[in-house]
Structure formats: C-alpha cells, structure tokens
Amino acid sequence: MATVNLWAKDGYMSTPDGNSIYFWGFTGDANRPAQLPGPRIVITQGQEVTVNLTNTLAKPVSIVFPGQRGVLAGGQPVQPQYDAERLVSFADYAPPNGGTVTYTFTAEHPGTYIYESGTYPYRQVPMGLYGGLVVRPADFDADTNKTAYGAGTDTGFDREYLLITGEIDPKLHRAVEQGKACSAGGYRPRYWTVNGRCAPDTMMKDSVPYLPRQPYGSMIMAERGERVLIRYIGAGVQTHPLHPHGNHTRVIAVDGRLLRNGEHDRSYNRFTVLVEPGRTYDQIFRWDGLGYSEQNPIPTILPNLRNMGIGDAGWTLWSGSPYLGQKGDIPVGVVSHNELGEYYFMLHSHAEPQITNWGEFPGGMMSMIAVYPSLSPVVGTLP
C-alpha cells in the first residue's frame, strides 16, 4: 500500500531567455510551491496506491491515470463530471479553494505512465498539471534484478532517466494568470520543454536553486557499455521526434506494454522515436564506442584548434581530446564545462523549431547524453 499526497498550486517558472511564466502544477508537500512537472511517482506492480489530491486553485482539478484500470474516487469508480449537462471533467475532481479528492488503484502492469489533470484538460494540462508515474515489475530488486519489465524480459538496465516532453504557449498562460478568456484555438507554442525546462536549463542538475519550481534535470549520464533505460512521456499536444546522437535506442515498450508476444520479441532499434501526445516509450540506450584511445589512435589529424570553431555558443562541452577520459587543450577564452574527459551526445527534437526558445537557438527540447569514464552508481536512479 502506497500513499501519495499531492497539492495543486500555482507559481512562476523560468525560461533561459529570461521569461517568467505563470503555471499550475502539482507538488508533494503542502508547504512547498508548485513544481513542473509534478513529483515523480514510483510504485510497484500489484501495489495498491492511494492518491490524495488537495486543490488550492480557484478552479476544480482532477487527476486521471491513463493506462490504469479500475481507478476509484472516494471508493467508487471514477466518472465523468458535468456542469449543467456540459462535460467539465473526465474524472471526479477536487473542488476549488481547498477541496480534496482521493483516488485509489492497483497498478496492474509495470511500465511508464503519465498522470495529469482530467478537468478542462485542454487548458489545465498545458498549464502544467501533469507528471510521471513509474511502475516497477513485481520482482524488481535494485541490487539483484534491476529490470523495466521483470526477469526474463531482456529489459535489464544499469541507470534510468525519465524525460517528459511538453509545450508552452505564453498567451494561454497569461490569459489564465489574468483570469481572461482564452480560446483553445490558435495554440502556438513558443517554448518546448523536457521535464519542465528549456535548454540549456535541461542540462543542469536536479534541484538547482535558481530553478526552484523546475526540479528535474534531463542530462543523461552513464559509463561506456552501460544499459541506460530512457523513459519518454509525451505530456503535450504535439508530436516530437526525439533523436539521440551517439547510437540507436532499442524500444522495448510502448504505453507501458512490453513489446513481446510470448516468445516473439517485437522490440526495435531506432535513431528517432516519434513521441506522440499521451504516449510513453521505454528504451535501452547503450554506447560502446569504436575503441579509440591513445594506444589505438584516430586515423585523422587534429587541426590547430585556434583555426577552428570551438565554443561559438559561448561555451563548449568538449574536452579538447578525441579520447574518452582524456583532456586536451581548449583555445584561450573558451569556457569548457567538461569535467573528466567525458563525451557528450545531443538528444533533441528533430522538428528543429522545437529546439529554440521563442525562435532562438539553442533552446527548447534538447539535452545531452554524457558518457563518463567512470561514474558514481547513485547517478541515474529514480527514487
């Protein structure tokens, strides 16, 4: 039996171009501000879960759990809600200004899921009322049986990351802030987010103090050869073709369902995965490299670096060396954020206007995969 307490609140989020945007979000503590996305919920298959929602906003708010069956509200099956015979909510809601509602369900299948508001969702979900739900397989053991879908499913992993995509049209957010009417038509995002942040903030660590409402980073870190479980959730209304550099990913599950029919494996390798609205993907990424080192040198010659473009963005993540775990010279005046000679591979939406902040590159739905020569085992774990 797991109990999750959530509060629906409002607040302001930051974008890297200096904008401050009003949003609605969930938080896991009555005394903490709203966050974007909501707290990660990690439970185990077969576990009964109780979610208590307290709504501090001036509008009704609910939570729906797509992919879960038999969800109860106040002990009864959740039902759509009507106001004067007009649909207002897909599920029982917590009334405004302090109302509460309690949902219970038992997670039937392991996998990656979304939870989100089902009340006026065309407005409340883009406002930020969404979060990620991870269900561990019943036989999960972080030390001896670390898999996404259970023993015997070929889904073992060494580290895992959850990336939730979203979009922001500031016009909608301003209208909600000012209590004005805003048509759902003409939706035109200016920001695209991963875990509620726009690049380059996506590459910052979890819980950095200057992003108090956006606690989750999206920098994927691993060692060479490790199996990295990357979970995608599409929380917006657009499609996003996410492309990791460095290698293909093996897509092992869609919408929390293992891609396997009995003995027939249906997983596949892709270099771009199209994340559709509401969909989730579980993938294994692994970078083994091509075996280059100072003992097995690259077959090309590094040019004089003063003649090359390095750090044009105002910074570089390059080490100055072609080799993993080595550092080389970086031209004077260029700031390198490289720590240990690690390699960086971009992970981004290939609908390229989505990697801008209101039209300005770099930004938006973009992060990096960092391959370190060695890395603490606590990096890349979900609570």
């Binding site: 550099h245 494996d265 280059y292 473009g309 209101w358």
Partner: protein, 332 residues
C-alpha cells in the same frame, strides 16, 4: 574494403520552384579532386539536396569539409559541420555538433572519418544552428550498402540489408523537406526569423516541387536541384524507396494502387531481438523528421501511379494545386 575520400564544400546558392520563384539556400557541393586553385569557383553553387554519399559497410570514408563562405552574405561568417545522422557509436569529434566538439570556420578544412558497420539509409546535415542551417538546405542522403552484395554467391544482385529478402531491382531516394519562403528571404537580407512562426509554403521531394519532381536529373531550369524523383520500372520488378525526412513536419506518403512493404527503418532492417520478422505492409508511410524508411514494392501492371502526400495541403505550390510532394511511378 575500399578507402573513400571525399571533399565537400559548404556555401550558399539559389534554387527554383515551379511557380517561377527563386529561393536563397545554404548547402553543400562536391569538390572532390578539384585543385586548391579551383575551389573558389564552387562558391555560391550549393545544391539541394547535398551530394549523395554512397558507401559499403566496412569502407573507410574520409570526408574533408571546406567552408567556402557565403558570397550572397559575406557578412555572415557562420561555421559549419557534417553530422552523419544515425551513425552508431560515433565519437563527438566526428559527430558534427559544435557545442560538443569542433566546427569549421570560413576558409578552413576539417576531416571527418567514418567506418560504417550497419547498412541502410541515413542522412547528413550541418549541425551549426541546426534550425537555420537545415531549413536553409544543408541536408543530404547517405546510403550504406550491405556486404552481402560483395559475396560471390550474390554477384550482380542488390540488397537493402544483409538478408536476401531485402533484394531489389531498382531504387529511388525520396528526400523530404519543406521550405518556408520567409526565413529564406530574411536570411538573404540579413534579417532574423522567429522560428516558432515556421509555416512552409513549399513541400519538396529531392529538393524539388511537383511537377519539377518528374523532370530528369539534368534539367537546365534546375541547375542546383540535380535529383529526379521519377520512378521507372518494369512490371514485376522490386522497387526500393529510400525515404528520408529532413523537414520539420511529419509526412504521410501514399501511392495510389500500390501496397508498400516497410522492410527497414532508421537504417535497421525490421527485425526483432531474436531476428523476428517485423516488416509491415502499409498503404500509408508515416515518417517524422529525422527518420528514414526503406520500403519495397513489386511493380504492378504497366501504367502511371501517383505518389503523393496524404496531407493534401502539401500537394500545393505556394497555395495552388498541383505541386509539392507529388511524383510519378512509371511502370513499363
């Protein structure tokens, strides 16, 4: 295994649309073997798409990228790179992402090296300010041919992957992009475009809008758009379509009267973890930016068949019909 040496220039140029309009582009051209004193002649002569890179798995491929500058925008000293999109286990040095390694300033060279180990259809593009440089046209196709074709048992036969069921008789590249005339015009005139306003008027196959798509490769009206999209085959032949999407929109292709078998995606044969056959029959091939698909069909009875974008708004040229992502299959 062969050693392949190429030299690509990065520069600008102009392309033509069937409504008579001209559009400013950035792009690559092939300057392999051109003496140093002659490369200046290639400034302002970028092609769309960029030259096809065609190699065998196991080849050692050296590409020198030379930044020739922009004659139309001499004030714009952007650097360039080559990003081989989808290359497995790449190292950052040759991955072409300026933020994590090296880019090439005007007048400089840089050597990329690839030893492709997986056959299939890939793409390459510049990764400097990619929203601008991709839309402006620095995009090209890559084909990695399978080693099985070099096996004496299969001499003279052609395959998409190392599996005899991927055999084909003819192949065509369908390289999909879009063109929004506003950023092209603004970049030509040293203005900044708000990329969140992106909304194209032209939808292109191999850099051309129908009816230019069915013109032959060499066409005096299309000097820098050298790739035809016309598909010609005899009845009963197997035709491989190598579809690449390097636009910013999802596209939905159909051929009226011809079912399509998707046998590869993202340069991987459609095979499961234990070699399960995952190929799929489709009437509609839905492809997102940054994806590639390998599709085989068997040429039906003689006649013309139309390939088009089922998002019918993309069968237009700046608002008028017919045009855009349309081409013709001629079965003889």
């Amino acid at each position: 295994m062969a050693i392949i040496r190429k030299r690509y220039g990065a520069t600008d140029g102009w392309i033509n649309m069937p409504d008579g309009s001209k559009h400013y582009i950035f792009g690559f051209n092939d300057i392999t073997g051109i003496p140093e004193s002659g490369i200046f002649e290639f400034r302002g002569k970028a092609s769309l798409p960029a030259p096809l890179l065609e190699v065998y798995e196991g080849d050692e491929v050296y590409i020198t990228l030379t930044n020739l500058g922009f004659p139309t925008r001499p004030d714009l000293d952007d650097t360039h790179t080559i990003h081989w999109h989808g290359f497995p286990n790449q190292i950052p040095l040759w991955d072409g992402v300026p933020e994590v390694s090296i880019s090439v300033p005007v007048g400089r060279d840089f050597d990329y090296y690839y030893k492709p180990l997986g056959p299939g259809t890939y793409m390459y593009h510049c990764h400097f300010e990619p929203v601008e440089h991709i839309q402006m046209g620095m995009v090209g196709p890559v084909i990695v041919r399978p080693g099985i074709e070099k096996d004496p048992d299969y001499q003279g036969r052609r395959f998409a992957y190392n599996n005899t069921i991927t055999e084909f008789d003819r192949e065509v590249i369908l390289f999909l992009t879009e063109l929004d005339l506003r950023p092209h015009d603004m970049v030509a005139n040293a203005q900044e475009f708000d990329w969140t306003e992106y909304s194209p008027q032209y939808w292109l196959i191999n850099g051309r809008s129908y009816p230019d798509t069915i013109k032959p490769g060499e066409d005096e009206g299309l000097p820098f758009q050298p790739l035809s999209s016309v598909v010609k085959a005899y009845q009963g032949e197997k035709v491989l379509l190598r579809i690449v999407n390097l636009g910013f929109q999802d596209h939905s292709l159909q051929i009226l009267g011809i079912p399509l078998k998707v046998i590869g995606q993202d340069a991987r044969e459609m095979r499961g973890y234990n070699s399960e056959d995952l190929s799929q029959w489709r009437n509609t091939v839905y492809i997102a930016p940054g994806q590639t698909m390998d599709v085989i069909f068997t040429a039906p009875a003689a006649g013309k068949y139309i390939l088009y974008n089922r998002s019918h708004d993309k069968n237009t040229v700046n608002g008028t019909s017919f045009g855009g992502m349309v081409t013709e299959i001629d079965i003889l």
